[in-house]
Symmetry: C2
Subunit: 266 residues, 2 copies
């Protein structure tokens, strides 16, 4: 698909769930984001959301990232997926309430990884959804893995791969901080938000990216930056923005000026 | 996948829902079937279920079978899928309660039709689920269609295609009648249940198959028989059995004698 107007919107699990409370959604934020998406009316959009407190605690309890090692993990795989389906339905139904024809698409059904990295991903149904003006809503999920039996696949990896594969115009990472900082703003009060970066500058910065949340089994901000490298290198514009700030996602979808970090190839 | 032990179990929408009441499940039957599946412990199993009162009324209201003709149908597509997801979750969660690691897999995410017939279907994740001893639970779904934008895809068509593609040993059609009759048992009291048929006999019979439900947008018993033709021709054993009779699905999974209709190539 050559679609220079395609936007990929990744919404972090820490935005749409209460990360400190197991299986607790942040429904007011989900509903506000659905309204912002409905108002922005993007021509072509794919949404990918994270797991937050729906995915990570179960994935950790059953050690799903390590792969299939004992039979009880199979039930863990199923339960983790079901938890993610229930979070996905909150997002999809909030979009439907805004008359946005959203369609939940679980990556476990159409992607397989090899040692944790996407090995195959069937995009025909996804592309046809976009062509027919529906909005696919994907998510970080448990998936089958050629080396490990199964593992977990982050929404960040899915979003970045789709941005490259489908030649997206822009990938928007909606997170719970304002963007990339000169150091970790959660520990260093002198940290400064970086409004714009080139790929080269990002590469220099990546080892000291601020806002890393080490308890996040799918990688914190450093993981996001690593995933963004390839799309940016291939000419996709990246925007990291605070989705907890009202209107930031609306502005990012519209391509308007905003508080956040823009990253481009040059 | 060469897997001579693979069983495909199709459960009709009229079995797991109250067909006359919109969005009403038949939860006691779903739970009993989950127990029978757990007890039968099949080595390799793929389940496919129908839509019944979750799928058909919405699909009819929005005329989804005819394809995309007006914008309001997009919301209809989303709503119909969401209804099917909620039915699928009842099946998956009932299996999980029996410690059966089930995984819902929506065909809209990995299959595309052309004028209503499956054009592509990605089976890698499905095959890996079976290999890793999980039980995929597919279902009749709204899907994207190359000619019509979108349409509805019956569970019968999915089950028959998988039986052929994955070289299943047996395809079990769990319906709400005892099997195939010499005429329609719902109108003809002299109709006699046919315990066994060859493909040739089935071809002769197919135009006067009993139990046809014309209000079923995915085809009644005649549609099922048409879908079964190819798997049977390729050597897959077919069994049509009344899933509303306790233990019939257990017996069909175990390969035991039962009341129903067996169909084989010769």
């Amino acid at each position: 698909m050559r679609n220079n107007k395609l936007l990929i919107l990744k919404i972090g699990g820490s935005v749409i769930t209460e990360k400190s409370k197991v299986l607790t959604s942040n429904l007011p934020v989900i509903k506000r984001l659905a309204r912002e998406i409905a108002e922005a009316k993007p021509q072509s959009l794919i949404i990918v959301h994270g797991g937050g407190s729906y995915g990570h605690p179960l994935a950790e309890r059953y050690k799903l990232r390590d792969g299939l090692r004992e039979p009880s993990q199979r039930i863990g795989f199923s339960e983790t997926h079901e938890a993610m389906v229930s979070l996905n339905r909150l997002v999809v139904n909030s979009l439907l309430e805004q008359n946005v024809p959203a369609l939940g698409m679980p990556s476990s059904s159409f992607a397989v990884t090899k040692n944790g990295r996407i090995h195959m991903l069937t995009d025909e149904p996804l592309i046809m959804a976009v062509k027919n003006d529906l909005i696919p809503v994907l998510y970080g999920d448990v998936v089958f893995d050629i080396d490990k039996g199964f593992t977990i696949l982050s929404g960040d990896q899915i979003a970045a791969l789709l941005a490259v594969k489908l030649h997206a115009e822009r990938i928007i990472m909606g997170v719970d901080v304002d963007g990339l900082y000169t150091s970790d703003p959660k520990v260093d009060p002198s940290a400064i938000l970086i409004p714009h970066l080139t790929l080269k500058e990002l590469e220099k910065l990546k080892d000291k990216i601020g806002g890393v949340n080490v308890s996040d089994v799918t990688g914190g901000m450093a993981g996001k930056v690593l995933e963004l490298m390839q799309p940016i290198a291939e000419g996709v514009q990246a925007v990291i923005v605070n989705a907890l700030r009202p209107n930031s996602i609306y502005k990012a979808l519209k391509g308007e000026e905003l508080i956040g970090t823009r990253i481009s190839k040059t």
